[in-house]
């Protein structure tokens, strides 16, 4: 048995569970009773579907940016040599991922209620209560919370791998901290950043669970439309067409992101 043949089980798996379903989706979206048709795609051109698509992109982008801004400094601190208890903090970042995300989102839905734990505590402290739930901001919160580790870990990994002597060389040559960060650390960490962006943006773009639980069904994203077609309307053709549109958007994003050829150098995913 050579080494190549070790890859066969995965190849077979991928063929059955990834390639075949994909082809089925393509088929369902273009053919109606054996006839080629574009009507499923035309159906999507209604303004409310387009609106849902743009809202998905907008919310996913917002949560990706928030994740990035919050995660980069954390990853920097964690990768620094002087951190003594960084294992603990790293564990705290990863710990929530040990639990099912559905469960955690349900928990947030009841924590953030008007009469939920957090508002009850505010009330006990004589502070005004806040209406957290149901709307765009609650959805963004849910996305940031759920996908934050996916941003921290790749950036942290790449930062750890940066040869410290390069950073020292920069200082020796007279660069201050800001310049070193801008010209040395940031460019070297880009693969991690790009992986992080992809890992957060993709699930945020396609989620339907967070919108339902934290958005109270009032935020209609592209994922919700697809889910509806498959579970309730049973319009497989239209559901497949919307999935295809979503996949094309994901593909465009990936191509755009992978223009940086640095993806293979560390945090790269694909």
């Amino acid at each position: 048995m050579n080494r190549k043949s070790l890859a066969y089980p995965y190849l077979i798996w991928a063929a059955i569970f990834i390639v075949v379903p994909l082809l089925l989706i393509v088929y369902f979206s273009f053919f109606e009773g054996g006839q080629f048709t574009l009507q499923n795609y035309e159906k999507f051109l209604e303004d409310y579907y387009i609106k849902a698509l743009f809202r998905s992109i907008q919310l996913a982008l917002t949560s990706t940016i928030i994740c990035l801004v919050a995660a980069y400094p954390l990853a920097m601190i964690l990768s620094g040599k002087q951190m003594s208890n960084k294992q603990v903090i790293l564990l705290l970042v990863v710990l929530p991922m040990w639990m099912n995300s559905l469960l955690r989102t349900y928990a947030w839905a009841s924590l953030l209620e008007n009469n939920g734990v957090i508002n009850s505590m505010l009330q006990a402290l004589q502070l005004p209560t806040i209406k957290f739930l149901y709307g765009n901001s609650a959805v963004v919160f849910g996305m940031v919370y759920n996908f934050f580790p996916f941003m921290v870990l790749p950036i942290y990994n790449v930062l750890c791998k940066i040869d410290h002597s390069i950073v020292e060389a920069s200082y020796d040559l007279g660069a201050d901290k800001v310049t070193t960060f801008r010209k040395v650390i940031l460019p070297l960490s880009m693969p991690g950043v790009i992986t992080g962006i992809v890992m957060v943006f993709m699930p945020a773009l396609t989620t339907f669970l967070i919108t339902r639980l934290l958005g109270g069904g009032k935020v209609m994203l592209i994922g919700n439309i697809i889910e509806e077609q498959f579970t309730r309307t049973r319009d497989l053709a239209f559901g497949s067409a919307v999935s295809m549109i979503l996949m094309v958007i994901v593909l465009i994003t990936l191509t755009f992101m992978s223009k940086k050829d640095s993806l293979d150098k560390g945090g790269g995913l694909f």
Binding site: E46, Y48, Y49, K51, A52, R55, Y106, A109, E113, N114, N115, K131, L133, Y134, R212, L213, G216, G217, K218, M220, N224, I225, E228, Q229, F230, T231, R232, T233, R234, D235, F238
Partner: protein, 350 residues
């Protein structure tokens, strides 16, 4: 050589012995039941197994559409399903149900006449009524001061962000159509368009479009008003005495969930036994008390505790039910796509 033969014989013997064991296991009779979540007293299944020796393999679904999506491809075989009226109609229409031989059911006589020969299964050959109920408004009497008797209250600015609607196109469009005075089974696109406009107008007042989790939230007083099925209302009112239930005067949905045997059932005889067991008044009463929904058997109703038996929520006066404003859903297959697109427009409107 002898040793070899001995070994082979030995292996063979063990093989045969194992086979018999496995055979024994498989011959233990079982039925597969697929029912709504929280829709039976769990002990009832154990009682059935105790009495008949038939094991009950039980699983649950959240709504008719989910059940249909699971059953339709035909790769999972169930012996018992509990669809609602319109879904029974759809499944009969699609040839997905086995006939039920009611002569085999010794307890079938307990089913009240008014629940027989219903329009979705006119000669009762495919379904046996299990539970029934109405759709209405659950409201918190501490937060809503005027009496609730109309769907209009769900459009009242005063209750902005205090209203839960069901995240279900069928129930929401039903409410809007009823408020407009139309039939909830209308296929008139203009009427449906009006219903959509009404729901869009309501959207800013709605706190959330909820699923089953809405029940718990109502009990916790997250919102003041919610659409609910009477059976759920019974359970919610039991947990929070400030809650009350009303069927609006414009009329509403009146439903019957029935037991059916789908095509592909591997144990039709066992399924009949199970149906008969559920129709036994003591068992039906047990289920009705546990889940809060209304039983279609007077004999079972008589066995219920006074406060349930006399509850107008669970058992509204007959003249109310016979009012033509109370309707059952028809098979919605022909409008399901239109409904879905209308509902998307409503939810994407804000």
């Amino acid at each position: 050589m002898n040793k070899m033969i001995k070994k082979i014989l030995m292996t063979g013997a063990i093989g045969v012995w194992t086979l018999t064991l496995v055979g024994c296991g498989a011959s233990k009779e079982s039925i597969t039941v697929y029912n709504w979540g929280d829709y039976i007293d769990p002990e009832v299944n154990d009682l059935f197994t105790e009495e008949t020796g038939i094991k009950v393999i039980y699983s649950e679904y959240a709504n008719n559409e989910e059940m249909y999506a699971t059953v339709e491809p035909g790769n999972v075989n169930y012996d018992i399903l509990v669809p609602s009226d319109y879904m029974v109609e759809k499944m009969i229409h699609n040839g997905m149900l086995e006939k039920i031989d009611t002569t085999q059911l010794t307890n079938y006589m307990h089913i009240d006449e008014e629940f027989k020969n219903l329009p979705f299964d006119p000669d009762d050959s495919y379904s046996v009524p299990y539970m029934w109920g109405t759709v209405g408004i659950v409201y918190n009497t501490k937060l809503v001061d005027k009496p609730v008797d109309s769907w209009d209250v769900l459009w009242d600015e005063k209750y902005k962000e205090q209203i839960f609607m069901y995240d279900s196109e069928r129930d929401s469009i039903m409410v809007a159509l009823k408020k407009l005075g139309y039939s909830m089974n209308t296929r008139d696109e203009k009427e449906l368009e009006e219903a959509k406009e009404l729901l869009i107008q309501q959207a800013p007042l709605v706190l959330a479009y909820v699923g089953d989790e809405g029940k718990g939230k109502m009990v916790n007083e997250e919102a003041a008003l919610m659409i609910a099925w009477a059976g759920d209302a019974m359970v919610m009112m039991d947990e929070n005495p400030d809650l009350a239930y009303a069927i609006p005067k414009e009329g509403s949905n009146y439903f019957v969930d029935s037991i059916v045997i789908p095509k592909g059932s591997k144990n039709i005889a066992g399924a009949h036994q199970y149906i008969d067991f559920l129709c036994r008044p003591e068992i039906a009463a047990r289920n009705a008390e546990y889940i809060g929904y209304s039983t279609p058997m007077s004999a079972a109703k008589e066995l219920l505790p006074e406060e349930i038996k006399n509850s107008e929520v669970a058992y509204p006066p007959k003249e109310m039910l016979n009012d033509e404003k109370m309707e059952m859903f028809n098979d919605p297959s022909d409008v399901i796509e239109l409904y879905s697109s209308l509902w998307t427009q409503v939810k994407a409107s804000n």
